[in-house]
């Protein structure tokens, strides 16, 4: 079902009717995903899929055009000495860097994601957030990663949070909207589940765990709760929503466990960069090292992989 077909049905859900989450049960389920042993061919396939799902990210106060150009080079040339590698899904930068990224990436099919809406705190008036978003889109961003107003959410002003997402969604135009819940500030898995439902009902194309600026960032537990919310939302509406864990996923093994969790929760339809992303800055190199290791049988050193 297309998004436009359901837009008219966007309605703030009754959060009190949303299923509860049992933390102990979630931990046990996650442990079971982690006990999956991914070897040989399935591992290589997974590693390449992970590369293709990465939103290569730099979100620092010290970012410069030079840094962003180098990051874009990395996005295009992950490791040219290994043939047959995919490119990453997107680069993720601040709105002021979108123009630089667009020029550096050209027309290679790598998306430009921009964090807008007064990232990372979201503590700004809606008008500022809308300008932030429109500017990023105007400069060439085709994906917007917005943050929800956690303070308002925790204070129970759900309507306000909902309306804000709805407004940003409209400001995005054709750009995809990823809604960052900043789960590390929500306190419990029940609240993560509720925020997920709220964001999807407000039109999120993706829901995303974290800004990467708050600890804990993405965890498998939080991601599982969000995947379960996506599954139930899909069952109820037929609309697919994407998922992006971000922050703290630095190693291949962990990323593979996320894929296992994705596969066993949402099934194959979600196993593409269109529906699943990793927000990460250092994951790519670890994946590349593992791919090289699988090919050669020799454990690798970080010295042989470019750090941009």
């Amino acid at each position: 079902m297309s998004l436009s077909a359901v837009t008219s049905t966007f309605k703030l859900p009754d959060l009190s009717r949303i299923p509860t989450v049992d933390e102990v049960g979630i931990n046990e389920r996650v442990a079971r995903f982690q006990s999956r042993s991914i070897k040989s061919a399935s591992k290589v396939e997974a590693l390449k899929l992970i590369l293709s799902m990465i939103d290569l990210t730099t979100l620092e106060g010290q970012d410069t055009p030079g840094k962003v150009r180098q990051l874009c080079q990395k996005a295009i040339h992950l490791h040219d000495s290994i043939p047959g590698l995919p490119h990453v899904a997107a680069v993720c930068v601040y709105p002021t860097m979108v123009k630089v990224a667009k020029k550096a990436l050209g027309d290679r099919g790598i998306n430009i994601a921009s964090v807008a809406t007064a990232f990372p705190s979201g503590q700004a008036p809606l008008s500022v957030k809308l300008d932030d978003t429109r500017m990023a889109v105007a400069e060439g961003a085709n994906e917007i990663d917005m943050v929800i107003s956690r303070g308002e959410f925790l204070a129970g002003n759900y309507g306000m949070v909902f309306d804000e997402i709805l407004a940003i969604k409209e400001a995005c135009g054709d750009a995809h909207l990823k809604v960052i819940l900043e789960t590390g500030e929500l306190g419990t898995l029940d609240r993560v589940r509720q925020a997920s439902e709220l964001a999807m009902h407000a039109g999120a194309d993706f829901i995303k765990t974290s800004t990467g600026k708050i600890q804990p960032a993405a965890t498998m537990q939080v991601t599982l709760v969000m995947l379960q919310a996506i599954r139930d939302y899909f069952a109820a509406t037929g609309r697919m929503v994407g998922m992006k864990p971000a922050g703290g996923i630095a190693h291949s093994k962990l990323a593979i466990h996320y894929l296992v969790m994705l596969r066993e929760t949402l099934g194959n339809a979600w196993m593409t960069p269109q529906w699943f992303r990793f927000g990460a800055s250092s994951l790519a190199n670890d994946v590349l090292m593992q791919i090289r290791k699988q090919a050669t049988g020799v454990y690798q050193s970080a010295d042989y992989f470019s750090k941009d």
Partner: protein, 489 residues
Amino acid sequence: MATPENKLAFDGGWQYSPAPESTDHVKIKKTYELFIGGEFVAPVQGKYFDTINPATEEKLSKVALASAADVDKAVKAARKAFVGWSRLKPAERGKYIFRIARILQERSREFAVIESLDGGKPIRESRDVDVPLAAAHFFYYAGWADKLEYAFPGRAVKPLGVAGQIIPWNFPLLMAAWKIAPALACGNTVVLKPAETTPLTALKLAEVIADAGLPPGVVNIVTGAGETGAAIVNHPGFDKIAFTGSTDVGRIIQKALAGSNKKYTLELGGKAANIIFADAAIDEAVEGIVNGIFFNQGHVCCAGSRLLVQEPVADAVIRKLRDRMETLIVGDPLDKNTDIGAINSKQQLETIKSYLAIGQEEGSEMFQSSCAVPKRGYWCRPTIFTGVSQSNRVVQEEIFGPVLAIQTFRTFDEALIKANNTPYGLSGGVWTDKGSKIFKMTQSIRAGVVWANTFNKFDPTSPFGGNKESGVGREGGMHGLDAYLKLGG
């Protein structure tokens, strides 16, 4: 409500490559003798039987068949050893048992692999559940050896003497630990008979017991089938009989022991209700259903084999359960990704199959996951029956396989009445977000163990055992000591 096109797809796409656990570190002898008086000795009648791998139908080893004469030898060895063992300083007795725990931990992977080879259970379970729990059980009861006076205030405690212990094939090593650890800690000596389809880990445990330096005869292991078990039950030299197995055999044993003054504990069958209320954390409840009935191929006496789900969430629960079943991997027990291994024996597979036929004849709707199963070996896909009623045999009788009967209910009282409407009373499950409902239900279910918002949890510190036809006595925890002690004034 979901439309057909909203179905999730779990077939095709990215699949897990085989990830077999290595077996090259595992030593299985061609022949196993009886372990009597600290030595491996040939059976008096010179008879042996084969133990096979139910996943391949290949022979693993040849195992001695103990006759009544062998049981008699074992009883004599145990009686002889009892004198020294029961007089040993309790702290020293404890230290021997600690050693067993430690050696089991050191050799854990070897035990896990053999358990999976001999019994068909997935390595994930033998590695993460059976073996570590067995070691933990020895560790726990080792500590009790010199602390018994604190468990029975005001009473002087004495060991019983020689215990005859008969264990089933579903948790071979773990059941051996459940039986041996408390018996030894309390100062008894034992003669243990593992099940005929799964004797290997008990015999490996005999090696551990020898390596730990236990005095000869404190633990004796005799292998064989029903006749060997009967020889144990009917031997006058035992002071105590401990049995885990079917209710039918339990009944026979209780009758056989009538008038003998022998102490006994029986852990028998079950048909547990797993009750899901509409306010439960549904996704975790679905996981609990899966653990409740598909753990160890459903070869679990306390399995949650009856699902009672409240009507408002019944459709969602069944949909989620079916999706979850599609992700369960059935196959090679030694593959680290296998969720459901081989059915333990041909005979058991036939029993399960007969119930699948009965369920369909009774008019219930059967759903099985679509996964592929290997050609050789004994396999059963995870199965659910919907549209079943209390009067159906698949609801009333213990199937002991990965087969779940699903009923719906409307009110608390209806759930409770259905849950208790069985001759069994081993375990139960309740799922709700409301604490007071949990306590109301745990208070009202007539069962020895009730799990709330979880299922099939075991711990050495936690007593386990059944009400009604599910058995007599408790194993595990402080209450598990009772079965192996005489309480004096």
